[in-house]
Amino acid sequence: EMSRVFPQCRDPLVILILLVHIIGVSPAPPATDSRRGWMGPPRGCPPARLRDPRGGARAGGVTSACGVLRLQGGGEPDPGAHCAAVGSQVEQETGGGVAEGKPHMGEVVTAFEVKGAVDYDRLVEEFGSQRMDEAMVARLEKATGMRAHHLIRRGFVFSHRDLGLLLDLHEAGKPFFLYTGRGPSSTSMHIGHLVPFILTKWLQDAFKVPLVVQLTDDEKFLWKGGGLDDYKAMGMDNARDIAAVGFDPDRTFIFLDTDSIDMLYPNILRIQRQTTCSQVKGIFGVTDSDSIGKMSFPATQAAPCFSTSLPAIFPSKADMACLVPCAIDQDPYFRMTRHVAAKLGKPKPALLHCKFIPALQGDSGKMSASEAGTAIYLTDTPKEIKSKVNKHAFSGGRETVEEHRRLGGDTRTDVAYRYIEFLHEDDDYVAKLGEDYRAGRVLSGEMKAEAVKCLQGVVARHQDARGGVSEELLRALMWRRELPVR
């Protein structure tokens, strides 16, 4: 649409800004199904206004729909900053095409991703996080004595906070632990959910460190309908999928909030006390008509960043350093935690940010567990995977075979290729496939076939692994016991 109206314009960032300000449209939200906290992108500010109230085109800077420029670049942004949230959900009521953000109550439509052209560099600058550059990747490899995971090497782990400091500590012989989590939103996880866990497993293997995994059944209960027990059950089911990723049962503790709140509560109180309602409203878009449970929940997700929150697991009275691998949309959440950590005299958690795995429809749709046809589930059959990819996967190919052979396909927007980039382990294969596609030697359909193979493989291996998760293994992973620390 935009290229029709502005045929000269190809620069994605300009398209982005024009979209936001002229049509008043917000591009599609990020495609992971995570909602608040481990459930996903924090909701931003009050409902979007369609036009930037200050009017005029903005030369630079991505603005949130309420018109406030997000965060100054560099340094640690003030978590109380208005509209700090990135990538909030937009429920796709119009479906397909250009996202016509109809915001839900309390959701902000932020300019985040449009047709695959998210400017991650700009994001890093605005969030004040640090780019994951070659030097840092090299440092990681040196520290672990292992080749970096392909997610890191291919730049899907694109930014961090304080990874350098964490590596300093590690090199000085000091311990750290990993922390990640999941909001048990449905019994079926999809490919997008898997990515942070894949990264976390590599980190655990590479550094040989303990890991805690928080299942936020309370969060889900607070945000959705249904009973608390339903979410406990979903959490237990998700725990099996998480176990199937292959974490080390001797070094991993998976827990439901409702089961571990007795351990977490003291630190939750300390964090709650240092966090104001206006901060939570500003960062997460919680409004006055939301429950007090929603208002206070951020402290529950922050707490496991501190090892003293789980005394049965980490008995030391001194807090250990923590590394949190997460999708980029969760950053404001952990920025808040880092801010509170400083106030409490506790170590700030270090972060690794992942890019989003795209929805089948590409960036104008979101991979959503609640919308069939947008996601590849870990329970999909090979046939379903093939059908979904063929039917729905956004193609970066040209309109005709002739044109495609001549001009080549766009690997940046081709969802089939993006999936291969995320999931396929063989660097050479991935590189060659990309080259061939851009050169027009590989057609759109062929690319899809490759993606289908890749996805079928990933899902089949996962299903096998999940089938192999015994009751004993699950119990062992969820058992409260001291984890070995360096």
Binding site: L222, D262, Y265, R273, T276, D290, G293, M295, S296
Partner: protein, 414 residues
Amino acid sequence: EVENMAEDSADNVDLASKQDGQVVTPWEVEADADEGIDYEKLIVRFGSQRISPELIERMEKLTGKKAHPWLRRGIFFSHRDFEKILDLYEAKKPFYLYTGRGPSSDALHMGHLIPFMFTKWLQDTFGVPLVIQITDDEKYLWKGDLEKGITLEKFYNLGRENTRDIIACGFDVNKTFIFSNLEYMGTMYPTVVKIQKAITYNQARGCFGFVAEDSIGKSAFPAVQAAPSFPACFPHLFEDKETQCLIPCAIDQDPYFRMTRDLAPRIGWKKPALLHSKFFPALTGSKTKMSASDATTTIYVSDTPDQVKNKVNKYAFSGGQFDAEAQKEKGADLEVDVAYQWMFFFCDDDDKLKKLADEYGPGPVRAGNKMLTGEAKKMLIETLQPIIARHQKARAAVTDEMVDAFMAVRKLSW
């Protein structure tokens, strides 16, 4: 039920603002009038029921025991659903008591004792179990200060100290479960989170006067105080989720429980019943609530007999006339006279109290030679000292093992 629903609606109720010249919230009590809080206005504003003579009579008939002086004298003056409690008792069905303490200092004062003394009487009279919540988390949220070293541990320890005073009131260990929120949250949490979901920030703000710069901990805390109103909070005690709860408390705690009653049917739980007491006036006058942090306003349960004597003589606000002559002539204003007001609370002997009122206050008895304030104060001192002495003796006998016994998660028998 329909009537009650209107009464309990927490929407559009701004309890935190000044109305009718008075503010009554769990953290602030202030009245413009010299006589203190106007309780009639409060009943109307809060929508509770007066405890009528008929209700008291019914209770006496059912229990076969004389009503506590505080009921007869109208110190416990208002209620919500107390008739339901009597119905249950009549049908030989169980109910349980719930009260609590916020451990903000290790000094309990006479005002703190009142709900505990009354609750003990209720436990003895009705033979029912009791749960007592120690809100160490609340006090930390409100009073914690990292720079000043006022830590979470401090409030936990204060809570254990306060528990000794509570035990000293004479509760039955077989029927009483005392718990610290910090320690018990593991079991309470499902109940708490269900309640948190049912209270909007707007409601909490209207009820308690929170502002945007208040912590998220404060805004979430009301759900924690509400939780023990429901038997689901105590799976080891109550299998029947329909068990009714009765909460005796000072009237300023009503906002918590009004909100609790409002949300109960939405979750599918029974509303707790309530018995409200008037404020025990500060030594320095009845316009305000007694404060544990101001020693001139109160008598601590740890005060020596001399301290009791000196405080009453020095600080107790006198309703007596401006000089002895006028006093002998007219008599004291009993409404504001603290010596009389405290006797009203702590003198069990109805005749003695009447005699004091007749001789010290206005009226024909001893006309022209009314009792002087000094003598009234002496009577008070002599009434208070044995009460405090008994308490201190009982407290000294409380061991760590007894504290552990009361706080153990175990079945109660009743």
